[in-house]
């Protein structure tokens, strides 16, 4: 089984006529995803790879069931697009757009909570359930995605879109497939954190282990460690920690917007200590992950 999306999940792409979104549409369709419409204001009536384009989200939801939306509009229009999708009753929103001020992200997250909807991202590559569907740019072209992602029992969550594919590729090469891989985004505020998604993986009988990608900045790892202890999670977790060199370079800013070294709780050393104390195994190299997963599962 998978979490969040299956082969039956229907979704739309907001901003479908943009250059990157057109590619994403093609990739998702080729992978088998059910895209039931695209929305670009003023472009209604067109088609993108056979997907009809509408001016408003309501025009699609009035015609058919829409489970999710991928929001791929420029930063200045993202909040409006997300509000439109929430208002139309869409329950799963993947925001791929980057550079959205956190005030607006926080507003979207708060609105989503009121509407009982879930946001993945922003600044993420989306979700991929191997052999089922992909929602977003994760894995790239369908043929490339099929190389890196294989069906299996490992749930993957990553703050880095690119590293999601790298980790899944390594797992697949070792014969460990994935139930679902989620690129959650690297911004300081995101819709769904590791701890937010854990209950979904917990509830999925086919998920047997979790692999996550971590880096300096933010409190998401601390939150996960707390979750694991408090909820007595059944799932063994293997975490890969990148950016260890940053502990030696305070004040420098690299990579994601969220990786700003501010205080002690943000450092890789502190995160590793907290995760290990909670029983999460921390890998130093990507290639160590499959062996650690197997060990934790007694395989």
């Amino acid at each position: 089984m998978s979490i969040l999306i299956t082969r039956d999940t229907t979704f739309i792409i907001q901003g479908i006529t943009g250059r990157e979104a057109v590619n994403m549409t093609r990739e998702c369709l080729d992978y088998g995803s059910k895209i039931v419409g695209g929305v670009t204001p003023g472009r209604g009536g067109r088609e993108v790879y056979g997907v009809p384009v509408y001016d408003t989200v309501r025009e699609v939801t009035a015609r058919t069931r829409v489970d999710g939306s991928v929001v791929a509009v420029p930063p200045a229009f993202t909040r409006d697009a997300v509000m439109e999708a929430l208002d139309a009753g869409i329950k799963l929103i993947v925001i791929v757009t980057e550079r959205i001020p956190r005030y607006e992200v926080a507003q979207m997250v708060e609105m989503a909570k009121l509407k009982g909807a879930r946001i993945i991202g922003p600044n993420c590559l989306g979700i991929l359930s191997p052999d089922e569907a992909k929602m977003g740019g994760l894995g790239g072209r369908a043929e490339d995605a099929r190389k890196a992602f294989k069906k299996g029992f490992v749930g993957v969550m990553s703050r880095s879109g690119g590293m999601t594919t790298e980790m899944c590729n390594t797992l697949s090469a070792a014969g460990l497939g994935q139930s679902t891989a989620v690129s959650i985004g690297g911004d300081p505020i995101i819709g769904s954190t590791y701890a937010d998604l854990m209950p979904l993986f917990e509830a999925d009988p086919e998920t047997k282990a979790i692999v996550i990608y971590c880096e300096p900045g933010g409190r998401m790892e601390a939150e996960l460690a707390q979750y694991v202890v408090e909820k007595k999670s059944r799932l063994p977790i293997v975490a890969f920690m990148a950016g260890r060199f940053m502990d030696e370079m305070p004040g420098m800013r690299f990579g994601h917007a969220g990786t700003i070294v501010e205080g002690k709780a943000d450092t890789t050393a502190e995160k590793i200590a907290r995760m290990e104390a909670a029983g999460i195994s921390v890998a130093e190299r990507i290639e160590d992950i499959p062996g650690m997963v197997q060990q934790r599962l007694g395989l």
Partner: protein, 402 residues
Amino acid sequence: MRFYEFEAKQLFSKYGIPLPAGSRVAHSPEEAATIAEEIGGPVVLKAQVLTGGRMKAGGVLFADTPSEAAHAAEKILGLVIKGHVPRGVLVEARAPVEQEYYLGVTWDGFARLPVMVFSDMGGIDVEEVAEKHPEHIAKRHFSTIYPFSDYMAKELIASLGVSGTNLLRLTHIAAQLARAFRNHSLTLAEINPLARLKDGRFVCLDGHVDLEDDARESQRQILQELGIDPAEKRQARPPTEFEIRGAEIDASDPRGVAGNVVEFDGDLGLIIGAGGGSLTLFDAIRKHGGRPANYCEIGGNPSVAKTCALTKLILSKPGVKKIAVMMNVVSNTRVDLVARGVIKGVLECGYKPSEKIAIFRIPGSWESEGFKILKDYGVDYCDRTVSMYEAAGRAVAKMREG
């Protein structure tokens, strides 16, 4: 984007938050004397720098007369504090302080909401107060979609036992600070110390404001009103020539990113995938004992021209012997385009790609096309069966061979 103290105070002032009398920036000793004369009493003069530790560096001085103020301003304007030249001297009235408070609004990434923090032990590090005197700290989250209402600030302040006129005055200041935070997409709005003077008035003695970098565009108006150039970068240290050129290359072409260049003093030039991949690869190079000459992100499918220009920049840095081009398995970046750009850059610098490129490890989209180009030029490349860690090791080994 951090604001100078005088800019932070101007912003506060627009929200009706009281400042010490006079509060203006002087750029010369004469100007400082004039402001001091207008104030007509003891003044404090403060260096306007975007770094801490100015008190220790002699950047905060007191004066009783205009001529003393001129003298102090001259001293301050001649300072360099941790590499920062003061952007003027803030001159303000010095008034007797009865008590110092702390008031701040910032983000709680955990709760994904803004949080207001109040303490009746201001003037010192709020983290220190939180640790040693938690009973002197009060916090309250507030919504980003419901309107901010004054009672929220009132409850927060009253929770530490403040009452009477003090409560009313502090409530007004806190509520206005929260509004400034919301209206301008700030990531930090802080008044510390917020002082109660002997006559009962409250004034903001020092303030910190950070504006979200991604909100500069939407905050153009207020930046303009405060006299801040929206394009001005305010970093912990001034960017080097090399880093500026990296940013220029990135700005020259909208396709992909080729920016975020940071210089180090090693001998291996890095062109590595943006975000998580670059953190992972930088760690791997160091773990193998390699000495990076730089940290340089590339990603989001950059054009051949952009990659070429970036390669030339990296190779132009003195001390760079070879470059390593590495990324995680890529989805939307085309391997062949990156390969083409890197080889073009190496050739245009007059080097042989087979000698200058220590390793090329970018698997993924359009990889077979990319690998063919690399093979034609005799470049050492690898596919996804070679891990990022292993590829970094191969690059470091190449450096040892010379």
